[in-house]
Each structure stands twice: as structure tokens, then as C-alpha cells.
């Protein structure tokens, strides 16, 4: 059972758009069994969503991405969870991780302009009671994201025929 789930997840992590029938064929499983597992894993929140990896730089949409290092005071009885929740509830926040090392939370943020991001940090994030300090790093270029190289798509350079 576990092995089946691992196989399904390993495959769809890289290619979530594969249709059910084809997925079942490639994994050598019954279509209904795969469908049931997928549904169960969605229900159990093992599969949390199906997203699209976009290189926004190739579009006319303006996007600014930042990684913000945040030092916070943990709260009695709730540790970092409550402050993390206050941060992740902002829709402009993409991700919030609890980090070991020199700071506590790593927040990734997406805004339309530099000013928008700056405003979020100074008006919203820094003013939270438990936030001690922030350090904002702007992303200048994405080379690789989610295991996929964005900078240079791969081309098949093999000969057309070989024995």
C-alpha cells in the first residue's frame, strides 16, 4: 500500500497533469485503485494542491519576490505556531517555514512592486508584537525552482539514430 502511494506521489510530483488512465498504465496499476488512492491522499491532505510552475519573467506581469528572515519571540504554550499563523494568513505570503539557525521564520513573499513588499514588511510584519527583527532579501533571478531548471531548458542533442 505504502509503496503504491510512494510510486503515485513520485510520479505526479513531477507531472501532475498526467491523466488518470495513463498514470495507471505507467505504474502498472488498476485505474480505479489509483483513483481511490489519489482521492484518499487528497482527503488526508498528503496531496495539498496541484500547482503550475511559471516563469513570470517571460510574461509582461510584474512580480517581485522576497525572502524575509524573521526573528520572533515564541509564545508561551504555543511556541512559534501562533505568530506563524498570523504571518501565513496574509495572502501575499507564499510560504512560511520555521528555520533552525540564526533566525526563526523564513517568509517568502510575492508582490507587484518593490514598494508593495517594503510596505508589507514595515507596516504589517514588523509591527507584530512578537516580531523582533526582519531582514528582507529580494530575489533577482530564479535559476531553478521546484527541482526544475528555469534558466536553460534542456534540449535533446542526441543523434536521430544510433544502434
Amino acid at each position: 500500500m505504502m509503496e503504491m502511494r510512494e510510486k503515485i506521489l513520485t510520479f505526479i510530483e513531477k507531472n501532475s497533469r498526467v491523466d488518470l488512465k495513463q498514470l495507471a498504465i505507467m505504474l502498472g496499476m488498476e485505474e480505479t485503485a489509483v483513483a481511490n488512492e489519489l482521492a484518499a491522499m487528497e482527503e488526508e491532505h498528503i496531496i495539498c494542491g496541484y500547482h503550475t510552475l511559471i516563469d513570470w519573467e517571460k510574461t509582461s506581469m510584474e512580480k517581485v519576490n522576497a525572502l524575509i528572515e524573521v526573528r520572533v519571540t515564541p509564545q508561551r504554550g504555543r511556541g512559534f505556531d501562533s505568530v506563524a499563523e498570523r504571518v501565513y494568513n496574509y495572502p501575499e505570503v507564499n510560504a512560511v517555514y520555521l528555520i533552525s539557525g540564526g533566525y526563526d521564520l523564513l517568509v517568502t513573499l510575492e508582490g507587484k512592486t518593490l514598494r508593495e513588499v517594503a510596505q508589507f514588511v514595515s507596516d504589517k510584519l514588523s509591527t507584530l508584537d512578537s516580531v523582533l527583527s526582519t531582514k528582507t532579501n529580494f530575489i533577482l533571478k530564479k535559476y531553478k525552482d521546484h527541482g526544475t531548471v528555469i534558466a536553460k531548458p534542456k534540449e535533446d542533442e542526441r543523434m536521430l539514430v544510433s544502434l
Binding site: M26, G28, L160, V161
Partner: protein, 387 residues
């Protein structure tokens, strides 16, 4: 002016795919299923070691037989994966691809008049190498009804008083056939009975999909009769690095090494340093790629079933060998027309021996998207032919 050429060389035919390559190279939007190498890049940690060796200035010759560290790691790997044990110092040599090892083994073992049994369809170099080594190739035509495995009966029927060597090319290019342990046991019995030697070309050993590959050298009494050939090209996606190896009893290997010393010197050192990393830390890469191939293989077989195209299920390498006899065309004609009309490249079965007539070699070393598009075109072609 005198004829500059050797008659024996001129008599050896060119390989049968040049025509397809020439036509395809001139066309636009061609999709190929004709490639005999993996589509993955060499895993980065392996490439990185190659680069590092260059940065360190490790650009000199290695010893003729290859880097000691690499030989030690290969010996461990063979023990771990296939339960065959070879002494790294006297029974193992690093070659320029599996191809060189085939050549060296034939040259070390054959005298004029010795017959070499070569099951076909199989890789194109065995026959020319046998001829170049003064041997006489004798073809065994494998049958689809046996899933292109070699049977003891077929072997027995081909043996004469001159037979010395049997080439065992499994997992097989082009058919994707494998030999299971019981198949090999039946072969080993005959080999010992008739006092033959075996060149076992196991370059696709890591790519089997039903059960682990079994090496004939692991069977009782066979180690001393076998030259085992393997390499890095298919398992680690390292074709361009040109690195293989041969294992054999000392008495054979030292003669192979002698030829290698004079003809080659040593395998490329950069490739050898990279290969140490591959064989030490590459098991996970190999199993990941195997999983990928297996998914494509299942998909390919499913499509053939949907097209109603007859094809035995291949459990090795990354090829399928469907039968196209129903269309009343030769393999060559079918492949040429499909290239011209649908722009899909496949290799006619006849490129791998006359008994490949009526079959095509389809490679699934392609991304799923490409495979799907090529199979759609192939399906269109077949539908048109059936109307």
C-alpha cells in the same frame, strides 16, 4: 595506383542505418524513436567528479588496466549486484566502452577457423569483430515464439567441431529480451558439455523490469568460461564518456589487456574518475532511471495493444520489437515510408540481422511527451495502411 584497402575489411558491410540517418537529417519536425542511448543526462554528481578531476590536473594516463580505485569499486559492485566475484588486480580491466571489450575478447580468444555463435537479432558489432579477429561468425536465428531468448536446442543445433565461442547478448538490443536463470542454466549445461567459452555482453544488466538480471558467470562452472562485459553507458547514462569493462579469468584477461595496451593504452582518465563516483554512489540514480523507463515501457506496450500491433512484452533494455508482417512490407520499406509520410524514425529489425525481417526496433529512451507524439503518428500511419 595499388588498391589501398584490405579485401577483408572492404567485404564487411556498412551498418544498415546510414540511409535513415541521411534521410532524417534532411527533414524538419522529425520525431525519432531510433536512438540507442539513454535520454537522461549523466547525473550531476558524476559529472562533477569528472570536472573536479580536470581541475586537479588529473590528466595523465592511468595504468593500462585502469584506475585501481575504479577496479576495486567495480569488483565490489559486481559482487553486490550480481553475485559474481572477480579479483580487481588480475581479472578486471577498464575499456573504451563495452564495444572495445567485445573486440578485445574476440581477438584474444579466436584463431582462424574458430566458429563464433552469434544469436540474432543482436547488436551490430559482434559479426564484424569476429571477422576482424579471424573467426567465423555463425548466426543463430532467435525466434519471436521464444520471446527472442536463446534455447538450449537452438544452441546445440548450431554447434560444430569448430565452435569455440558463444556470444550471449542479454538483456538484448534490439529485442528487449532477457534470459532468466533457468534459461541460462540450460545454456550453461550445453556450453560445458561442448567445452565452449562465452562472451556475455551485459551492458543492459541494470535495465530489467521483472526481476534482477542474472549473469551466466554466476552459475556453477561458468566463471572460468566467461568473459563478462559491462559498462557505464546505459546504467548511468554515460554513453559519451566511452567507458566499459571486462572481467575474465586471468589467463584470458591478461591477453586482452596486452592488446588493449598496444591498441588503446588506457581508457580516458576523466571518465575513469567520474566512473568511480558512479559505481560508488550511483545506485539510486540507476533505480530512478529504471523506474522511469519501466513506466514508459508499460505505456508503449499499452499503445501497441490499442493499435492492435503484435509485440511480445520486453523485460530488458529500453527497446520493444513489434512485428509488422501483417502489412506485407519489408521492415526497411515500412521504416522508410513511416519516415517519409509521418516523420517518425525507427530502426528496421534487419539492421540487427536477417531474422529481424518483419520487425522494428522502437526505443523508449524518450520523454513521455515525445513518445506519445511519435506513437500518435505511428498509429495514424498504421490506420492508413489498414484501410
Amino acid at each position: 595506383m595499388r588498391n589501398p584497402l584490405s579485401e577483408r575489411i572492404v567485404d564487411i558491410p556498412f551498418s544498415g542505418i546510414r540511409k535513415f540517418f541521411d534521410i532524417a537529417a534532411e527533414m524538419q519536425d522529425v520525431i525519432s524513436l531510433g536512438v540507442g542511448e539513454p535520454d537522461f543526462d549523466t547525473p550531476w554528481h558524476i559529472r562533477d567528479e569528472g570536472i573536479y578531476s580536470l581541475e586537479q590536473g588529473r590528466t595523465a594516463y592511468t595504468s593500462n588496466a585502469g584506475l585501481k580505485e575504479l577496479k576495486i569499486e567495480i569488483a565490489k559492485y559486481l559482487e553486490r549486484r550480481f553475485q559474481v566475484s572477480y579479483g580487481y588486480d588480475t581479472e578486471l580491466m577498464i575499456t573504451v566502452g563495452g564495444s572495445e571489450a567485445i573486440d578485445m575478447a574476440m581477438r584474444a580468444m579466436l584463431d582462424p577457423g574458430d566458429e563464433v555463435l552469434i544469436p540474432q537479432p543482436s547488436y551490430v558489432s559482434y559479426v564484424p569483430c569476429a571477422i576482424l579477429a579471424n573467426g567465423t561468425p555463425v548466426i543463430i536465428n532467435l525466434k519471436e515464439e521464444n520471446e527472442f531468448r536463446l534455447t538450449a536446442q537452438e544452441l546445440k543445433e548450431a554447434i560444430t567441431s569448430k565452435t569455440k565461442l558463444l556470444v550471449l547478448p542479454f538483456p538484448n538490443n534490439p529485442t528487449g529480451a532477457i534470459m532468466e536463470k533457468k534459461d541460462l542454466e540450460a545454456i550453461a549445461e550445453i556450453v560445458m558439455e561442448y567445452d565452449l567459452y562465452v562472451i556475455s555482453d551485459e551492458i543492459y544488466a541494470e535495465l530489467t523490469y521483472q526481476q534482477d538480471h542474472v549473469s551466466i558467470a554466476s552459475l556453477p562452472g561458468m566463471r572460468e568460461r566467461t568473459v563478462l562485459i559491462n559498462g557505464f553507458s546505459k546504467a548511468y547514462s554515460m554513453t559519451g564518456w566511452r567507458l566499459g569493462y571486462a572481467c575474465a579469468p586471468k589467463v584470458i584477461l591478461e591477453q586482452m589487456l596486452k592488446i588493449h595496451q598496444y591498441a588503446i593504452m588506457c581508457a580516458p582518465s576523466t571518465s575513469q574518475y567520474a566512473a568511480v563516483e558512479a559505481v560508488k554512489n550511483g545506485d539510486e540514480d540507476v533505480s530512478g532511471m529504471r523506474e522511469e523507463y519501466n513506466g514508459r515501457r508499460r505505456y508503449l506496450m499499452h499503445r501497441f495493444t490499442e493499435m492492435n500491433l503484435s509485440c511480445f512484452e520486453p523485460f530488458g533494455a529500453f527497446y520493444a520489437f513489434p512485428c509488422i508482417r501483417e502489412f506485407g512490407m519489408s521492415s526497411d520499406e515500412f521504416a522508410t515510408r513511416m519516415l517519409q509520410e509521418e516523420k517518425v524514425v525507427v530502426v528496421p529489425g534487419t539492421a540487427f540481422g536477417d531474422c529481424g525481417e518483419g520487425f522494428l526496433r522502437i526505443s523508449y529512451a524518450y520523454s513521455l511527451e515525445k513518445l506519445e507524439e511519435a506513437l500518435n503518428r505511428m498509429e495514424g500511419f498504421i490506420t492508413k495502411l489498414r484501410q
